[in-house]
């Protein structure tokens, strides 16, 4: 199907137009091109989806175009639409379009409007290549492309050096993961002889079993790549800093799409992961650890976007957790719902930040619900979904994950307990965020929002994205789960609500109730306590203070990396001797000796005839001795 190409091609075209015109287009045109290209792509995706469903979920393959062919390696550009990639494509173009839409307003007062949309379009293109590519190399192309765009967009405000640092950190840290991915590609090509996803999986199914070590290594390497991209432990440190980018970027890249690429990768390679218990266990543990650590960290953050960032980490942790447990559909479903509600949350927070004139500290906010009603409700809906309040989208997906954890044969109870505790934490920090931002009285300055600002969250054009995402966050769960289940050929997967009703068992009920409990607790705690206590909790030296400080810093990962990797590298690199290349010393020494000998020999040229004669007689003597006795 050739029209498939249009989906990635449109954003690419948008990118090219915006770049080549070098920002000379009027802003309205830029907005139309930037958001429009993604919008049309979304429409086409809808058409493709319709075709897909109309043909009994038959895989759709685009026309192909040879990329390169060397020896036994032949790689083409070809798009591949099956259930998995279709859902992802839908999310990317759909949510992407909404965020672009929102951004047309959000960015309206910034410099580099055109540049921003160029990058965003490029990002959508790259992300689509990642998702739709039929070979791992094409996937890698997208994978790197989104990394680049992420770098460009985090550092969008390039005048601020810290942002540039954050951008580089993001790029380099994910690059570490990418390297593992790349090595996995080499290994796959070596062992399987192809980089085509489907052929590779087929090969694995046919030739490998649980005991194949190579498979485990491949999976672990892929996990390494996924961990980097999805900001999981231990490569998670870049994500909070990545919040330096404009908020729509955070919404699109660092919440809805790019960071879930790791999840997508693992889901894509399901056939291989299923064969390796060790890899699956690692996926679970990585997810669980991130989930935990990120949740605790989110609880003590003061920057609203950092709360959301840690929340994103923990939610992706859920996804990994689910994938690792074999609850493929639950994990992937959570990806989709998370895209909806986290995008919503970010957009809402973006409006808040603009309203506060780029103040992101929640302790300086408060009472904003009166000024910003739309973001307030959006935030409420998003938070509800995040906290998995029953019947919201998040509830369906998270519940499925929790139940999946319970069903795990070996450590089920343990996993479930962990996940449930994290769920409580999720509720807690969500409530805390809303309480600090919207409830109570203003603690800092507030500003009037001029009615004709393009980003004014009360205008229709800005409300629309909130509305659509809000609807999806609430109702997305109702329709989606059955669909996603088919992706992974799971028939017996647990289904939250029905399950609860049918069984009314202890565990499902508890699973059902505990998020609620968290919310109630949160409301009690944050609603009633004095504002100062939060601040105190962070600064004083009591045990809780130290703990919260520790949590605040993201469990000290940054500190450890700084101390043991970055610092030594930079220090050694910056010392003078190294700038001057120690290898050069070899040649400097040679030069030194050459000139030393030169000076010694020159000193013999004294100019005295008698000395000259002496050397000649000496020479004769030496030669004679050599000839006669040696």
């Amino acid at each position: 199907m050739t029209s498939l190409w249009l989906i990635p091609a449109l954003p690419l075209a948008g990118f090219l137009i915006l770049v080549l015109t070098e920002g000379r287009l009027p802003r309205s045109v830029v907005a139309w091109i930037g958001a429009g290209s993604v919008g049309i792509a979304a429409v086409i995706t809808g058409y493709v989806a319709w075709q897909f469903l109309a043909h009994d979920n038959a895989t759709i393959v685009s026309s192909e175009w040879l990329w390169f062919s060397v020896g036994s390696m032949e790689i083409s550009f070809r798009l591949w639409i099956d259930e998995l990639s279709l859902v992802m494509t839908g999310v990317i173009t759909g949510v992407g379009f909404l965020i672009h839409w929102y951004a047309t307003g959000y960015m309206s007062e910034e410099e580099g409007y055109s540049r921003f949309f160029a990058y965003m379009n490029l990002f959508v293109f790259a992300m689509l290549m990642l998702v739709m590519g039929d070979s791992l190399l094409l996937l890698f192309l997208g994978w790197e492309g989104v990394g680049l765009c992420s770098y460009l967009l985090i550092g969008f405000f390039h005048k601020v050096p810290e942002f540039g640092y954050a951008a580089r950190k993001a790029f380099v840290v994910t690059r570490v993961g990418d390297t593992f991915f790349l090595i996995a590609l080499f290994l796959i090509f070596w062992q399987v002889g192809t980089l085509d996803v489907q052929e590779g999986l087929a090969f694995a199914r046919a030739n490998w079993d649980e005991s194949t070590t190579v498979n485990t290594i491949i999976c672990l390497l892929l996990l390494g790549g996924a961990v980097g991209k999805s900001a999981q432990i231990p490569l998670q440190t870049w994500l909070p800093d990545a919040m330096a980018g404009p908020t729509p970027v955070s919404a699109l890249i660092h919440a809805a799409t790019m960071v879930t690429a790791g999840v997508y990768l693992i889901a894509r390679m399901q056939g291989m992961f299923e064969l390796s218990e060790l890899a699956m266990l690692c996926v679970t543990l990585v997810g669980l650890a991130t989930l935990f650590i990120a949740s605790f960290t989110a609880l003590v953050q003061s920057d609203i976007k950092r709360v959301l960032a840690f929340s994103t980490m923990s939610q992706i942790g859920y996804m990994f957790f689910a994938l690792g447990l074999g609850a493929w559909s639950a994990g992937f479903f959570h990806l989709v719902t998370h895209a909806f509600f986290k995008a919503l949350l970010f957009l809402a927070s973006g409006s808040v930040i603009l309203a506060m004139h780029h103040e992101q500290d929640m302790f300086k906010m408060g009472g904003l619900r009166k000024i910003l009603p739309v973001p307030y409700y959006a935030m409420l809906i998003g938070s509800a979904a995040l906290a998995a309040l029953p019947l919201t989208a998040g509830f369906f997906s998270k519940d499925a994950i929790l139940l999946g954890a319970w069903d795990e044969p070996n450590y089920g109870g343990l996993f479930w307990t962990g996940a449930i505790v994290a769920a409580v934490l999720t509720s807690l920090y969500t409530v805390r965020m809303i309480a600090l931002t919207f409830w109570g009285e203003p603690r800092g300055k507030t500003y009037e929002i001029s009615a004709d600002s393009l980003w004014n969250p009360n205008r229709v054009r800005t409300v629309m994205p909130f509305l659509i995402l809000g609807v999806l966050s609430i109702f997305g769960g109702w329709i989606g789960f059955e669909f996603t289940k088919q992706l992974f050929n799971e028939t017996e997967a647990p289904h939250g609500l029905l399950y609860v009703i049918q069984h009314l068992d202890f565990v499902p009920v508890l699973t059902f109730l505990i998020p609620l409990l968290g919310i109630v607790l949160g409301i009690l705690f944050f609603r009633l306590s004095e504002d100062d206590q939060f601040r105190k909790g962070i600064t004083d030296n009591s045990l809780s203070g130290i703990l919260s400080k520790y949590w605040h810093s993201g469990w000290g990962f940054d500190w450890v990396y700084d101390r043991f990797i970055v610092w030594p590298f930079v220090t050694i690199a910056r010392t003078r001797t190294n700038k001057n290349d120690i290898v050069d010393l070899i040649f400097k020494t040679l030069k030194f000796f050459a000139s030393l000998f030169h000076h010694i020999l020159s000193m013999l040229q004294t100019g005295h005839i008698r000395w000259y004669a002496f050397t000649m007689f000496g020479g004769i003597l030496i030669v004679l001795v050599l000839v006669m006795w040696v």
Binding site: F140, K159, L182
Partner: protein, 477 residues
């Protein structure tokens, strides 16, 4: 049209000491010629052009010019970068432009000769010939420390070249003793059976010369100095083309003339490559001078060539060739950028830069593009090369390949730090006025960008050309 026709044609022009336009036209002419030859397709034996003239019959030394796919590819690169070098130094050199262009043309003629010579002595002849004008370029139009840099460049390349000369003559003499014919013809010497230890020594003679030119650790130290001091056109030629002669030499001569010895040598070849990648990348990060940084990054990239070639796989070999071409474009562009910055700011130190994006967004965007390319972004030429190299090398040695792969991370570190320190951040207060790129510079950069993207998305153009040669290699081992 014949290859020698092309070369002679260049040399004819060379003697006319006319300034820029002439040399620009010459390069465009050569580019067009290469294009025409390419479109014309090869003859039955896979050659695009072939020329034989007697030179010194006494020693069986003849002017044998042949252009096969690999040669054509590199000559094409030479011609395009020739245009780039001339255009990029359009305003930089104000003194003695005639002599300047004369030298540029001579270097190029030498390089074209290197790429098309199929007689070993002729090859050596051109190998050395291109160094002299290059020396002039550095020594006359270089920057503050030019004497040291030019001298270092000349000494390194000449001394290693002498070793090669010894190896060439020795090889010919061995052949003479075996067959009683005195010939320097590449093809005649190709099938020569050599005794193990002799082959190893002779191979080393060639290898050292090429590796010095490439350059690889530990004989790389001339490069940063030469690059830093050379004028823009010099740097472009040096990085874009001269380094490639080293790669070409290894691929064309070392591997084919001494197949067994090279096979035995694979570990050391790859190890040197990996060390170059990591050490070069590491040093690149340590630099504060824009050009030095790019120079060290060249060392790292050329490390990939070594890794690829010594993996002895089709993938690795092809990857090395693609890397050679792509690196030619990307690094040349970065050096032009450095030259443009120096022309505007009179400094190469990155501490004198910072925040330049605000003053010159086009330069920023262009730099970003090439930095990203050299970092190895898929979709651009360098990635294809590095990927193929690594895939190919993986079969040979997993450990070394994994180490080399981490070079990619290092590349990101120094590449982005270059970007950050020069173009991003707050505007350096010392920068007052700065002109952005004009039409001349932008169109030049556009050509290079298109070339890189083309190689990135359709490397088959390159791969198909070099395929014939790599096929031959397959047969040899």
């Amino acid at each position: 049209m014949l290859a020698a026709g092309g070369v002679a044609w260049i040399s004819e022009r060379i003697h006319v000491n006319l300034p820029r336009w002439l040399s620009l036209l010459t390069f465009i002419g050569v580019t067009a010629w290469v294009g025409a030859v390419w479109l014309g397709g090869p003859d039955q034996s896979g050659l695009y052009a072939n020329q034989f003239i007697e030179w010194i019959p006494r020693f069986g030394i003849n002017l044998i010019f042949q252009i096969d796919g690999l040669s054509l590819l590199l000559i094409g690169l030479t011609a395009i970068l020739g245009v780039a070098a001339v255009v990029s130094s359009w305003t930089e050199t104000k003194q003695r432009t005639g002599f300047f262009q004369f030298n540029v043309l001579w270097v190029m003629a030498g390089v074209v000769g290197v790429f098309s010579s199929f007689d070993l002595l002729l090859f050596f002849f051109f190998w050395e010939v291109m160094l002299i004008p290059m020396y002039f370029l550095i020594a006359i139009w270089g920057h503050e420390d030019k004497e040291y840099a030019a001298m270092k460049f000349f000494l390194f390349t000449q001394i290693s070249g002498l070793l090669m000369l010894v190896a060439i003559i020795a090889l010919v003499w061995v052949n003479y003793e075996a067959t009683n014919t005195l010939t320097f013809s590449y093809e005649a010497l190709l099938g020569l059976e050599l005794e193990g230890s002799i082959a190893r020594l002779l191979m080393l003679g060639f290898f050292i010369a090429f590796v010095t030119k490439l350059p690889s650790v530990p004989v790389h130290t001339w490069l940063p100095d030469a690059h830093t001091q050379a004028p823009t056109a010099g740097s472009v030629i040096l990085a874009g083309i001269l380094l490639k002669t080293g790669a070409y030499g290894i691929i064309r001569f070392v591997i084919t003339l001494f197949p067994e010895a090279s096979q035995d040598f694979w570990f050391w070849g790859m190890l040197l490559g990996v060390i170059s990648i990591l050490y070069g990348g590491y040093l690149a990060y340590s630099q504060t001078d824009f050009k030095r940084l790019v120079a060290y990054s060249s060392i790292a990239h050329m490390g990939f060539v070594l890794v690829g070639v010594y993996s002895f796989t089709t993938l690795g070999m092809q990857g090395a060739i693609v890397t050679v071409i792509a690196h030619g474009f990307s690094t040349a562009a970065l050096f032009m950028m450095a030259g443009a910055l120096q022309e505007r700011l009179h400094s190469r130190e990155m501490s004198d830069m910072g925040g330049l994006w605000q003053k010159a967004p086009r330069m920023g965007a262009v730099t970003m593009f090439f930095v990203v390319a050299s970092v190895g972004m898929p979709g651009l030429g360098n990635f294809i090369g590095e990927f193929l190299v690594l895939v190919g090398a993986f079969n040979k040695s997993i450990v070394l390949t994994v180490l080399a792969t981490f070079g990619v991370v290092v590349a990101a570190v120094y590449g982005l730090s270059l970007m950050q320190r020069s173009f991003q951040g707050e505007l350096n207060p010392r920068v007052s006025e700065m002109q952005d790129f004009g039409v001349r510079e932008m169109s030049l950069m556009a050509v290079l960008m298109i070339a890189l993207i083309w190689i990135g998305v359709h490397p088959q153009t390159v791969l198909a050309l070099s395929d014939g040669f790599v096929q031959i290699l397959e047969v040899i081992p």
